[in-house]
């Protein structure tokens, strides 16, 4: 099979190069560590540099492919690989861009964060392997490849959360993440087996064809299967009802890992959910007109509203900043679920595209916020709101960056988060779903309250006497500043990127 990329006739697997770069990087990290395995002898610079280069490479190649039109109607059209088990299209490349950029920021920041830690090669290897899994999730087009790539991203994540193995919080977070993850992955695979029972196929297009017949489909089995698959994805995206691992795991994990999981892992969970529900179950859900056989749109609407509300109200009552960010990340999962919940709108591509853009902006602003927490952990100042008092007197640049992240997360026009939320609101209005729109507005207003508590502590409160910042770790700082710059730049540059998201989304609706 040959495809035409930028005038060159190349084999079709070339479209998968971004994921392959990540996979090869992971292997290289293990080879580098095998050459000199005793702890502390592998150069940390080499390890961090190699993983950052790999992630950056995947990000750049995916972005370049997106510009060239690979996998999109104006270029090659969706590239089917391995009999449709994987597909490379606009949406998959878009999410590889998100995953690649978040991974690059996280590995860059980890260089300083992990200073003096043992097992650095393992850390970078696990991060890059998880990133490989996430980029494959973006391309997976069969329930089998979805399950395998989802586990490829989950299993390293469990180990990463428990990475500080002498720290009780980290181990506890890892345990809870593992327990909930194992439970939800078995629920997911049972759901997959029921969908297979009803349709006789695992490849998503074939599932859709088999279910289109209508009359002979066992609706009961199919319905239970679809709900269980939805619950499995709820774990990966940290949505209700499998959200309660998120605060524990994010709080206990090393802060760069929290950033990685809450941004990249969540985005990967969403792309899988989008693809499964829009490729395999559109007719079942009544999106092609007619009565829905299994009304998953309503189910997702309920999940979206509950997730937003639970996440934001819980965040408002927290005393620790990292835990507050963890709950706010649950709330943002609810916002992104609007992409599936508001699909009754006439312009479905707009709804889904708005959700994709929100995940892109969220990738930068949330990663940045957690990396700022990594910075404070590096300085050894406390975790509560009071511990941040007067931090701007010591580190004004980092605090300015954090302010950009927080106000952008809340949806103020200081970063891309403002426009992406506006688009989501427009999407709910188009769908005529006043419930979703009201939930979005109320929760955003509430979120402004608890985000500004951090800003107030940093800029207005007086510093306590012993607050002292003694070092300015350069790579961690660089990662935070880059994330802040991109978050801010996405405000004017939003319109440059959104067409590719809307194009990629509308292709799915044929």
């Amino acid at each position: 099979m040959v495809v035409d990329i930028a005038g060159f006739q190349v084999a079709d697997w070339v479209a998968l190069v971004p994921s392959l770069i990540l996979g090869v990087t992971a292997m290289l990290l293990f080879i580098v560590d095998s050459i000199e395995p005793r702890p502390g002898t592998s150069s940390n610079t080499v390890l961090a540099g190699l993983s950052t280069l790999g992630a950056l490479g995947a990000f750049l190649v995916a972005g370049y492919f997106l510009v060239l039109g690979v996998g999109q109607p104006r270029g090659t059209g969706a590239v089917d690989l391995f009999n449709g088990q994987l597909v490379v299209d606009g949406m998959s490349l878009f999410f590889v861009v998100i995953v690649g950029s978040v991974t690059a920021l996280v590995t860059l920041a980890s260089y300083d964060y992990l200073e003096g830690q043992e097992y650095q090669a393992e850390y970078y290897g696990l991060v890059i392997m998880a990133a490989t899994g996430m980029s494959l999730m973006a391309s997976a087009n069969s329930l089998a490849t979805i399950f395998v790539s989802l586990e490829l991203s989950s299993l390293p994540s469990y180990a990463l959360v428990a990475f500080l193995k002498k720290n009780r919080g980290s181990v506890e977070g890892g345990l809870k993440y593992l327990l909930v993850g194992a439970l939800s992955s078995s629920v997911l695979v049972y759901g997959i087996s029921l969908v297979y029972a009803a349709s006789g196929s695992l490849q998503l297009n074939a599932v859709a064809d088999a279910l289109a017949g209508g009359s002979s489909v066992p609706v009961g089995i199919l319905g239970v299967g679809i709900i269980m698959v939805l619950l499995g994805f709820a774990f990966k995206t940290a949505s209700v009802p499998f959200h309660f691992w998120a605060p524990e795991a994010y709080e206990g994990a090393p802060a760069p890992v929290s950033a990685f999981l809450s941004s990249a892992s969540k985005a990967a969970g969403f792309v899988v959910a989008f693809r499964v529900f829009l490729t395999a179950f559109p007719e079942v859900g009544g999106l092609a007109g007619g009565d829905p056989m299994v009304d998953w749109v309503t189910a997702v609407t309920v999940l979206a509203v509950v997730t937003m509300t639970v996440g934001n109200f819980a965040a408002a009552t927290q005393e620790k900043v990292k835990r507050m960010l963890a709950y706010s990340s649950v709330g943002h999962a609810g916002y992104a679920l609007i992409g599936l919940a508001a699909l009754n709108a006439p312009d479905q591509g707009f709804v889904l595209g708005a959700s994709m853009m929100h995940l892109l902006v969220y990738g930068f602003m949330n990663t940045g916020a957690f990396l700022f927490i990594a910075l404070t952990e590096h300085w050894g100042i406390g975790r509560t709101f009071q511990d941040f008092n007067g931090l701007s007197t010591q580190a004004p640049l980092a605090c300015a960056a954090m302010t950009v992240f927080l106000f952008s997360l809340a949806g103020l026009p200081i970063g891309g988060g403002f426009i992406s939320k506006l688009y989501l609101l427009a999407a709910t209005a188009q769908a005529g779903s006043w419930l979703l729109g009201a939930a979005l507005i109320v929760n955003s207003a509430l979120s402004l309250f608890y985000y500004s508590r951090v800003v107030k502590a940093m800029w207005i409160e007086d510093p306590s006497a012993d607050l002292e910042v003694d070092s300015y770790p350069s790579s961690l700082y660089a990662a935070v500043v880059i994330a802040a710059f991109v978050t801010f730049a996405l405000l004017p540059a939003f319109g440059l990127l959104s067409p590719s998201a809307f194009d990629a989304a509308s292709v799915l609706f044929g």
């Binding site: 292997m27 560590d33 395995p37």
Partner: protein, 135 residues
Amino acid sequence: MSNPWIAIGALALVALAIPLSMMAVSSLLRPSVPEQGKRAVYESGEVPTGDTRIKFNIQYYMVALLFVVFDIETVLIFPWTVIYQDAVANVGLAEALVPMLAFIGILVIGLGWAWRNGAVKWVRSPRAQAQRVEQ
């Protein structure tokens, strides 16, 4: 023709009834003489040593993990070997062989890494040493 399951059900009943009745009869007939030797744990005629719930050396876990990896690898290679001849005839040697070589290659990198990091090296653990001295 009656239901063939009736026969299976009857067989199951008989299979349950025989051991239960034997136990009941023997408990009625036998004298009750409890004694130390009868109550002791039976370990193939050896003198029993301690509890079953002892701590194992952690290195058994490492070896067991490596075993699981290659055990599962066999499960995945097996279907491939079954269709290998047909696959070569249909899609050619390269497409039939290269994916499996890549799969094994990745596992070899992992094994090499584990080896270099000492997962298969049987080092003396100080705690196990101390326990042996006590006995």
